[in-house]
């Protein structure tokens, strides 16, 4: 075979990720694919080679569950899968509650699962010590797969289509980038030019990406496992796997049969990280580069726990294999997928585990082929990380923190503890003085609520929450701040906004191409608009201000700023007619909202800020006591007021000015608990990543405007199609009618729970999408607990009585709004006065 000198796409890595990408690219019609691995085939020595190969389908994350279910379908179709079933056993009542939460997620995503008693656990796995467990969560659909064989099949299929050349035992030495795009790779056997490159190198990915000047933020981390045998009861099954896999959740361990022995693995030991540059080569390794010498002392406690759970079978058998296996960890424990933000046409398929491998392959191939994948990659998109989060310091800090939470009980609102205070706002010291409780978004510290407002709880008679879990990472102060803002006026720090200034002669055409709604508006007007994917789903949801003939400012949420930045930059025209500047770090913004907001501003300026002089939806510069502030009359909480932006160095001054002027008008500092949840929910405002995902369109979300602009924009075709049809689902606001649980406590959902019929049947729309809670929270001014959820038209009827499952119990709910009409102040009179 001649060494190729050019390729359409090169895929580096022949583990589960690389092989799956290769297989799916070929299936979607890609030709001239070259796959390279430093190691031999079929096991080049990466993490796939020593993986435990079991797939538990249920995850609280919808995205991860969908990827896993898709992967399982693919493994099944390739004939490399055995259904073993799996049980997550609980040793504590706290874990049982978590298993009830898992039942809820299983119901939401449609995965068959059962809560079972200790006796039922023993019926399935008779050698478990009944004395240490209190129950279990049984998923009959847990599988064991042959990931190496799956990889070979994927490659062979691509070869059968005459689409693939495989180069094993070939080392990547360098990369060439031209005009910001990948151009060629240098290997120890020659140079290959290419249009596209996919890095699927598992633990080596950061090292390979760096050759092109790109970052793939992961760290190789140790996962210890031992193989114990022979065990007669397992040998008698005469199969690779005859008993369900057991996850001993409270000790962060699993026990999985491998033929006549038991593999015992752990996520309980101390975090042990390696550097991608310091992994030994295949030749230097005793076993393989990712099967490193076992460090006994880290596993002592785990052995005791394993013996405790399965004393009968584990006390006689011998430890025949023990490794510190390397796998990939990322700062937020999700994969790293998509085009890298630094180099065009250089893609990442990294930090992929066996359970999601084939699904990821399909996702990447679709993404490269049609511009966006079917499953929304929101949480896996490599573009989600800001620069600071790509640094080794951050990666190691966060991975150290979450490694032991792999099997942990993680509250959905739980905050990170490590590497905090990376980005603080000018008014941060004031907020600390006011007792702000900070939550993090995109590295920014944002007050979620202010302890100084505690007396307001009594003043407004706000109720607390009975159950510790529901009250965790929450405070009744949020509701009190909400009511105070609606009664008087509140200050919300919004400096975490991502701010992009886009200018140049071509900017109108460019912005029109990006956004759904008409952006060719008068200078000084603002447009709230979705951005769509090529396939017509939501890609972003933001506000665009026209600040000049050739100047737009894009304002997006801090959580999505990094992804939005990538999206805008990716689509910039190449002729230089548009300039993009990320001014996030240059602008501080404070929102001032409430009936008294205008009075506060009037006391600071002689400019006309009346309703007539400064109408809703407009933007202008206002001089506030000598500071030129850009004021934007808008509200995400449904009140009169402005987002007020100043240069970062005047942010503290602005805070102090508003604070002092606000004293006469009853100003309260208001946290993101109100801005992001209670205020927003009462107004039915949608949030990117919650209600707005790429598998929904603006018609379904109730965001379609009466008219469609003439100009072309990304996703226009599918959008026009969607407008012609009746929506398959409609975003609704629901109210919880009774919070009382079987034990008599009042319970409060947190989001992601399934919406069911009143008698508990799952609701799935005609596209197969289940109904679930996209956001949950209090509506203090409407006196109800509110849920947003998509419902098929038959159920999206005001007054319809349904149920929400929470911790495996049903609670009655009622549809209050079908569509986007606000529940609170439906005429928006308060904002527009």
């Amino acid at each position: 075979m001649n060494f190729p000198t050019s390729a359409h796409v090169i895929v580096i890595g022949a583990g589960i990720a690389g092989n799956s990408v290769v297989g799916h690219l070929a299936e979607l019609g890609w030709k001239n694919i070259v796959q390279i691995d430093k190691g031999p085939l079929p096991n080049p020595g990466g993490s796939t080679g020593h993986a435990s190969n079991f797939c538990f389908p249920v995850d609280h994350s919808k995205e991860m569950t969908l990827l896993t279910l898709d992967s399982t379908r693919q493994y099944d179709e390739m004939g490399v899968m055995v259904v073993s079933g799996g049980i997550e056993v609980a040793r504590t009542s706290e874990r049982m509650e978590e298993l009830r939460r898992r039942m809820t997620s299983a119901t939401a995503w449609g995965v068959e699962s059962h809560l079972i008693s200790p006796d039922e656990v023993l019926e399935l796995v008779p050698f478990i010590n009944r004395d240490v467990i209190v129950g279990g969560f049984y998923s009959p659909g847990v599988t064991v797969v042959d990931s190496l064989r799956a990889g070979t099949i994927m490659r062979e299929r691509a070869q059968a289509r005459d689409a693939l050349t495989v180069l094993p035992n070939t080392e990547i030495l360098g990369m060439e980038v031209r005009n910001g795009a990948i151009h060629a790779v240098m290997t120890d056997k020659g140079r290959i030019e290419t249009d596209y490159l996919v890095i699927a190198c598992g633990v080596w990915s950061p090292r390979i990406a760096r050759m092109a000047g790109a970052t793939i933020p992961l760290t190789p981390a140790v996962h210890q496992m031992i193989d114990v045998g022979p065990i007669p009861v397992l040998q008698q099954t005469r199969s690779e796997i005859g008993y369900p896999i057991v996850r001993d959740m409270d000790t962060y361990m699993y026990e999985r049969q491998t033929a006549g022995s038991m593999e015992v693995g752990s996520y309980a030991h101390r975090p042990i990280f390696h550097h991608p540059d310091e992994i030994p080569s295949l030749g230097e390794s005793l076993l393989s580069p990712t099967e490193l010498p076992f460090t006994d002392e880290d596993f002592d406690l785990q052995m005791e726990h394993a013996l405790e759970l399965m004393p009968e079978i584990l006390s006689q058998a011998e430890i025949r294999y023990a490794i510190n296996g390397l796998l990939s960890l990322t700062p937020d424990a999700m994969p790293l997928l998509g085009e890298t933000v630094e180099v065009k046409n250089l893609w990442s398929a990294a930090a992929v585990w066996i359970k999601e491998g084939p699904g990821v392959g399909k996702m990447i191939a679709e993404w490269m082929t049609q511009g966006y994948p079917e499953i929304d990659p929101h949480s896996s998109d490599i573009a989600r990380f800001y620069r600071f989060a790509r640094a080794e310091h951050h990666i190691l800090a966060r991975c150290s923190e979450h490694f032991n939470k792999t099997y942990g009980i993680v509250h959905p609102r739980e905050q990170w503890e490590s590497n905090r205070r990376v980005r603080t706002v000018p008014a941060y010291p004031r907020q600390v003085e006011l007792g702000a409780v900070f939550y993090e978004v995109g590295g920014w510290e944002r007050p979620q609520w202010y302890e100084v407002n505690a007396p307001l709880v009594e003043h407004y008679g706000v109720k607390g929450r009975d159950h510790e879990w529901d009250a965790r990472w929450w405070s009744p102060i949020i509701n009190a701040e909400h009511l105070a803002m609606r009664e008087k006026v509140g200050m919300v720090d919004l400096t975490a906004f991502a701010i992009f200034d886009i200018t140049g002669p071509g900017v109108v055409d460019y912005i029109q191409k990006m956004a759904v709604n008409q952006c060719d508006v008068a200078v000084g007007r603002a447009v709230y608009t979705p951005l769509l994917t090529d396939t017509g789903g939501f890609r972003a949801d933001l506000t665009i201000l026209r600040l000049g003939e050739h100047h737009y400012r894009v304002i997006s949420g801090g959580g999505d700023g990094a992804r939005d930045r990538y999206w805008f930059r990716k689509h910039l025209p190449t002729d230089g007619s548009v300039t993009f500047v990320d001014n996030t770090s240059a602008v501080s913004t404070i929102g001032l909202w409430g009936p008294n907001a205008r009075r506060v501003i009037e006391s600071l300026t002689r400019d006309d800020v009346s309703n007539e002089g400064f109408p809703y939806g407009s933007v202008r510069e206002v001089n506030l006591q000598g500071i030129d502030a850009l004021m934007f009359r808008i509200s995400y909480v449904g009140e009169l007021g402005w987002e007020i932006s100043v240069p970062m160095e005047q942010g503290l001054r602005l805070w102090d000015m508003l604070w002092e002027a606000g004293q006469d008008w009853g100003v309260v500092p208001v946290g993101i608990g109100v801005y992001g949840t209670t205020g927003r929910l009462e107004k039915g405002y949608r949030l990117m990543g919650a209600e707005l995902e790429s598998d929904y369109n603006p018609v379904e979300a109730g965001l379609a405007r009466p008219k469609v602009k003439k100009a072309d924009f990304i996703g226009k075709g599918p959008y026009l199609e969607a407008r012609k049809e009746d929506p398959a689902t409609i975003l609704c606001t629901l109210t919880v009618e009774d919070h009382t649980s079987a034990s008599g406590m009042e319970r409060y959902m947190g989001g992601n729970e399934p919406i069911l019929t009143a008698d508990g049947e799952r609701i799935v729309d005609s596209h197969g999408r289940p109904s679930y809670v996209t956001t949950a929270g209090n509506g203090p001014s409407v006196g109800k607990y509110l849920l947003l959820a998509y419902l098929p038209p038959a159920h999206a009827v005001v007054g319809r009585e349904l149920a929400v499952m929470y911790m495996n119990e049903l609670y009655p709910v009622k549809v209050a709004i079908a569509g986007s009409t606000p529940l609170f102040d439906p005429q928006n009179a308060r904002m527009k006065c």
Binding site: P40, L282, E284, L286, D300, M303, A317, E318, I319, R320
Partner: protein
């Protein structure tokens, strides 16, 4: 029957061994450590003899504090007692090692000699083949090397060594010394309870003075690597002509 087994902590490298920049050592940054395979078998043989004849099986190593890892492993597979002779290195020359071991053994025995002292035939790293024989000579005891089989018969040990034609059988009066070879018996793996027990094992330390031996290392040298590559000539019958051509090339046809 009291048996002492002397073991050495050695690196467990892959196919390619990397040297440190000064060529004084092998680069062990990514390597685990183990007991030399011959010695692992010697430990197993000692544990089996103890199981059959009673007494104790003691394992001793000379080395840095980390060598305790190998001692604990011995406990996890059945050793009763373990002894560390602390040293900065495992790389004393054979003469110095033997001298230090003789001092340590003399102190351990204090009048009651071990019935049997087992060594590995040679260490997996430096492979000097000498320490067992030097210790035996210094202690004035009979020694057999290349040991592939062992039995106790009254106050004698019966040892077997392999030759090209078959076995040689020796009878040695106890106390005696023997250097075992891999294959003497199949070492067991530790059990979970064995591992846990080993964590709690008491380590006896016997400090000795070190004298310099007669050897000095200049540096390590690595033979040039032979780069080989597998070329797949084809599948099934279609590969036959290529195989024929290859066999002709090397002069076999």
């Amino acid at each position: 029957m009291n048996i002492l087994v002397c073991v050495k902590r050695v690196p467990a490298p892959g196919a390619r061994i990397v040297l440190t920049d000064d060529r004084q050592d092998i680069d062990t940054r990514h390597l685990g450590f183990t007991t030399s395979p011959h010695e692992e078998c010697a430990v197993e043989a000692a544990v089996q003899l103890r199981e059959r004849h009673g007494g104790t099986a003691t394992v001793l190593t000379l080395g840095p504090p980390e060598a305790v890892e190998q001692l604990r492993y011995s406990v996890s597979v059945g050793a009763d007692q373990v002894v560390l002779v602390p040293a900065d290195t495992t790389e004393l020359d054979p003469q110095a090692t033997a001298a230090a071991l003789v001092d340590a053994i003399t102190e351990l025995e204090s009048g009651a000699p071990f019935d049997l002292i087992l060594f590995g035939n040679e260490s997996a790293d430096s492979g000097g083949y000498q320490v067992g024989i030097r210790v035996a000579r210094a202690l004035g005891r009979p020694v057999i090397s290349g040991l592939k089989g062992i039995e106790i018969d009254g106050d004698e040990m019966v040892g077997r060594r392999e030759t090209d034609e078959g076995f040689e059988v020796y009878r040695l009066p106890l106390p005696a010394v023997a250097a075992a070879k891999e294959g003497i018996t199949l070492p067991r793996y530790p059990t979970l309870p064995g591992r846990l027990k080993s964590r709690r094992a008491q380590i006896t330390e016997v400090a000795v003075e070190f004298s310099s031996g007669g050897q000095e290392m200049v540096h390590l040298l690595k033979p040039t690597e032979e780069v080989t590559e597998t070329v797949i000539l084809g599948h099934g019958a279609e590969a036959a002509p290529q195989v024929v051509r290859l066999l002709e090339e090397v002069g076999l046809l």
